[in-house]
Subunit: 119 residues, 2 copies
């Protein structure tokens, strides 16, 4: 058991849309990622997904609205809801979700990451 | 679906050791709490528990060591591990744990909170 410093973890890599695992509990994982640009529209049929902003600004598009997230804010995207993460400039994010969650959800894409690095 | 501002939620109450629920996902809850002083030794037999520091400083005592948490840091306490949260000055914390988690774990105490407010 030790303290996990999110900023240190985030400083250890620089690529976008490639989450790393930094913790596990109760069948869920804690991940960190850097986002820049536009991801793809997707949904997770069986998993709710939490995004917490660490630095920068993130937008998350839904079919009927777009929500802006600033540092200290989080959003929970319920299973089955289509969404598209976006960031005009680089942002840093923490995610909580079940271990089974694929980053691209129900979509096949070059952006899919089947196995995530644990850091 | 909307952004949850953790600081706004924390500014809406002032008592210690009384977590509020700010989100739910996958059978887990996201809580925020203010801590000051010493809590009691306890463990959760069935639940792993995550503490993330939002402001101030928290110490978490284990039987063999004490871990200090600063803002931007988190710790995961595995089920079955005795721990005692402490804070010399007020600190603000986000918790992530199963809905079934009691704040005092296996211990009976006046500090037990059976039902938590949702804010």
């Amino acid at each position: 058991m030790k303290a996990v410093n999110l900023k240190e973890k985030l400083n250890s890599f620089s690529d976008y849309w490639n989450p790393r695992i930094v913790g596990r509990l109760n069948g869920q994982v804690v991940k960190v990622a850097k986002f820049k640009g536009e991801f793809i529209w997707h949904k997770h049929d069986e998993e709710d997904e939490l995004f917490q902003l660490i630095s920068g600004q993130m937008k998350i598009a839904f079919r009927d609205k777009t929500v802006i997230l600033n540092p200290g804010e989080l959003i929970i995207v319920p299973r089955g809801v289509e969404h598209k993460p976006m960031a005009e400039e680089e942002c840093e994010v923490m995610l909580f979700e079940p271990e089974s969650t694929l980053n691209t959800g129900d979509q096949d894409s070059d952006l899919k990451r089947d196995t995530l690095e644990e850091i």
